[in-house]
């Protein structure tokens, strides 16, 4: 295999603030919490948009769209604030890698700030004008469409960075953000992420509309609780099935240098657990006894997600370890040389 030359920068010459295993645990877990709320924000926006369009012909779906949008208001703010902890984590443990990727995609990276602001303002505009634009549905829908398009684009910026940071040998060939989209397997990670988003939303809305204190008669006339729960379960089921394609593609398009048997076992274990969860879900859909094993299903899926999160980290570790060794060597060499020079100066004084 053709080995590309990679830059060997010096690392920040300060120790990590806490043991690395602790920082990595914080990074993985807080990232998964962040991604949960991002999924709910992006997926919730998509479902709102889809159902408002369906609602043009079938008005009861209009109300359902509005009810779903109410959850996006909360989830979007939690998504943003929950993103700070993993940002802190990755900045601390992978400073050289993450900041280098940020700089190389700088315009796109900083544009996340205004783009998310615009998306959020559009969400608010859409949310607070349901009645006002009742007779201007196309306009109302187009407001949300723009927000959704932004939500489709912004994850690409993040994926480009988390991908680029893994491949220092590619840094010299980057010329701006768009050139990074065809490096590694960004696009396949993206589709895997989108599918995951919808699957999580299914489980969330199963719980949300299924709560005892949520009165479907009051908020969503024309629906029954069971009907909503069925829709939610079906969404999770079919999208998770599609992950057999998207997830597999994602795995097999990963640059091979980071793949090893540990990684494969972790992913396979996650898939098996998800398969068990989907089997239980399918059984409930067939029997009509919806929710009997919801807690088990949700827990199993959470464990799958945890395995995926761990797998993500194992891949990152595998890919970066050789380079980190070289960085460490150069850093130590430099520090040694500096110490020798400064020592002489102090002695001379």
């Amino acid at each position: 295999m053709f080995a590309q030359l990679q830059p060997i920068p010096r690392d920040i010459p300060l120790p990590l603030p806490l043991p690395e295993w602790f920082l990595i645990s914080v990074l993985i877990i807080s990232f998964l919490i962040h991604i949960l709320f991002v999924n709910l924000m992006v997926g919730g926006t998509f479902l709102t948009l889809l159902l408002e369009i369906v609602g043009l012909k079938n008005p009861r779906f209009n109300k359902l769209a509005k009810a779903i949008e109410a959850t996006v208001t909360v989830n979007k703010s939690l998504a943003i604030v929950a993103g700070v902890a993993p940002l802190l984590g990755i900045n601390t443990v992978y400073t050289i890698y993450f900041y280098s990727a940020n700089a190389l995609t700088g315009y796109a990276w900083i544009s996340v700030v205004p783009l998310v602001i615009i998306a959020f303002l559009l969400l608010y505009l859409h949310k607070y004008t349901w009645e006002k634009y009742e007779n201007k549905k196309v306009f109302h829908i187009s407001i949300l469409s723009v927000a959704f398009l932004l939500f489709l684009f912004i994850p690409l910026i993040f994926l480009s960075n988390v991908n680029l940071m893994l491949f220092p040998e590619d840094w010299a060939s980057v010329k701006g953000f768009f050139s990074t989209l065809f490096m590694g397997n960004v696009i396949f990670r993206y589709f895997h992420f989108l599918a995951g988003t919808l699957a999580v939303n299914g489980l969330f809305f199963f719980w949300y509309f299924g709560r005892e204190k949520y009165s479907v008669e009051e908020h969503l006339p024309g629906f029954t609780k069971d009907e909503l729960k069925k829709y939610a379960y079906k969404l999770t089921f079919y999208v998770t099935l599609s992950q057999l394609v998207f997830g597999t593609l994602n795995f097999f398009t990963l640059p091979w240098k980071g793949v090893n048997w540990t990684l494969a076992y972790v992913f396979i274990s996650g898939i098996i657990i998800a398969a068990v969860a989907m089997f239980l879900l399918w059984k409930e859909l067939k029997s009509g006894n919806l929710g009997k094993r919801f807690v088990v299903i949700a827990t199993l899926i959470s464990v799958t997600v945890l395995f995926m999160g761990m797998g993500r980290h194992i891949y990152r570790k595998n890919v970066l370890e050789p380079h980190q060794k070289l960085v460490n060597e150069r850093t130590m060499e430099y520090q040694k040389m500096k110490y020798e020079l400064l020592k002489d100066t102090l002695i001379k004084k």
Binding site: L5, Q6, P7, I8, P9, R10, D11, I12, L14, P15, L16, P17, L18, L23, T73, V74, K76, S77, L78, I80, V81, V84, A85, L87, L88, N91, T92, T95, I96, F98, Y99, S100, N102, A103, L104, T105, G106, Y107, W109, I110, V112, V113, P114, V116, I117, F120, L121, Y124, W171, A172, V174, K175, G176, L326, R330, M337, K338, L341, L342, T345
Partner: protein, 473 residues
């Protein structure tokens, strides 16, 4: 030199973080810390009036809700995202310094994050349960208590973060690795907090004036009452801004002048310092004049006039923040790292070997006769570009022209070569030039070559990087 160099050659890199950070400060002071207590008070006023059978009770509640709506929308969009933006922009323009800060102050920022998470949750609860709380007085009372708790908590977030920031800016904590608690026992801490708190309330009052004019255009009688009440709020808090501001201002020389090593530097310092006082006094006078006008002659006030006190407070806050950054120079991390991202400790090596030899990303690991201009550009990128652009904001060419060619005549090569190694002695906010003698020459040649051009060269975000052949494997 160990990161690809992001660079904005029109606005300059400092403006990126300055704009984002000042927007964030205005929102967190004026629409969160300062605004939430005012809104809760208005809600309480409405509750009392309704309980006593006065119809204006509902008006107070509606207005307070509208204020809260504005605060909610702006804090959860611009407020939250500029907070993230500070992280993103600091990482782009100053990765070595923020990367170092994180290694030392991780726990401080982690604590800050937990507090922010809680604040976001509480603000959402307060806003999203507002309408429901109007169902009866008991629910309303609970809601007001929640608002009070939120107001106190919001202030606490500022109290903690000011301590953390103070700790990070204090050189003692760097070099001696002191505990986080020294951020709160620092003599600047309480005066700064005592100043920021009423400043936040006064900002909130200015914003409340504007929103009142906006929302109550059609209800003049109620508008008059509201304006008078906001005026009372302003009359209470503005004197605190003045006295706390003067006290904070009076402490600055003792605590910050000690960090300025050169006598001549105190002249520049004095100019900045005096201007701070003028801004503070001007802001207070303008704020009070407008308060009196709004309260006693509201009929004569055009809506746009209500923006003026807000702008005045913004300028004052911006000036204080700029001053804080001014006193930081020439360091970004005092006694450890200069604002060019280079460590004090490394200077001996660089002034011997040159910066280019140790730079990971450069097309010229050393200066030769053939590559003078290219090497000069690389030296500019590494040692100057954090603060300077070629021809635009804080232009390096204009700086030299001001000194040596005020009429735009060609710059004098020898004068520049003599000046660059000692410029930090005349201009204390400049870090010493870290390069060796050939690099000084290369830099000078480069600046001479671009003096009459109008080039604008963005950084690695457009042009990518070239890896030094000395540092690739």
């Amino acid at each position: 030199m160990d990161f690809p160099i992001f660079h904005l050659d029109f606005f300059g890199d400092r403006l990126l973080i300055a704009v984002i950070a000042v927007i964030h400060v205005i929102i967190n002071h004026g629409l969160a810390v300062g605004f939430l207590p005012l809104i809760t008070l208005m809600e309480y006023r409405g509750y009392k009036a309704s309980k006593n059978g006065f119809p204006e009770g509902e008006k107070w509640d509606n207005l307070a809700y509208k204020f809260m709506f504005v605060a909610f929308v702006i804090t959860t969009t611009f407020g939250a995202l500029t907070g993230v933006g500070i992280w993103f922009s600091a990482a782009l323009i100053s990765p070595a310094s923020i990367g170092s800060l994180i290694r030392i102050f991780f726990m401080a920022w982690f604590i800050e994050w937990v507090i922010f998470m809680l604040e976001v949750i509480f603000i959402m609860i307060y806003f999203l349960t507002w309408k429901k709380s109007n169902k009866d007085f008991a629910a309303k009372k609970k809601h007001i208590i929640a608002g009070t708790a939120l107001s106190i908590f919001s202030w606490l977030t500022m109290a903690i973060i000011v301590g953390i920031l103070g700790f990070m800016m204090n050189s003692g904590s760097w070099v001696e690795q002191k505990s986080l608690l020294t951020g709160f026992t620092n003599p600047m801490y309480l005066p700064q907090l005592a100043f920021r708190t009423p400043m936040a309330f006064v900002m909130a009052g200015s914003i409340a004036f504007f929103l009142t004019f906006l929302f109550l255009r059609k209800d003049f009688d109620f508008k008059k009452i509201v304006l008078k009440n906001i005026a009372y709020w302003m009359f209470i808090w503005t004197p605190h801004v003045f006295f706390a501001g003067i006290y904070y201002y009076s402490l600055i020389p003792d605590l910050m002048l000690a960090n300025l090593p050169v006598a001549i530097a105190t002249q520049a310092f004095q100019q900045w310092y005096d201007s701070l006082l003028y801004y503070l006094i001007a802001a207070i006078i303008v704020s009070m004049l407008f308060t009196v006008w709004f309260a006693f002659k509201p009929k004569r006030v055009p809506v746009f006039a209500a923006i003026i006190p807000i702008l005045v407070i913004i300028v004052t806050m911006g000036t204080f923040e700029r001053f804080r950054e001014f006193v930081r120079k020439p360091f970004v991390l005092e006694d450890y790292m200069y604002s060019n991202q280079l460590l004090l400790d490394d200077y001996k090596i660089f002034q011997n070997d040159g910066v280019l030899k140790h730079a990971t990303y450069t097309s010229t690991p050393e200066v030769t006769k053939e590559n003078m201009l290219e090497a000069g550009k690389n030296v500019f990128d590494i040692t100057c570009s954090r603060c300077h652009t070629h021809h635009n904001v804080n232009s390096v060419v204009r700086k030299f022209e001001k000194l040596f060619s005020p009429n735009g005549e060609p710059l004098d090569k020898q004068k520049m070569k003599d000046y660059i190694p000692v410029m930090h002695k005349g201009r204390y906010y400049m870090p010493p030039f870290p390069g060796n003698s050939p690099e000084t020459d290369a830099l000078v040649e480069y600046i001479l070559s671009i003096q009459k051009s109008d080039i604008n060269i963005p950084g690695a975000q457009v042009n990518g990087v070239q890896i030094s052949p000395l540092h690739l494997k």
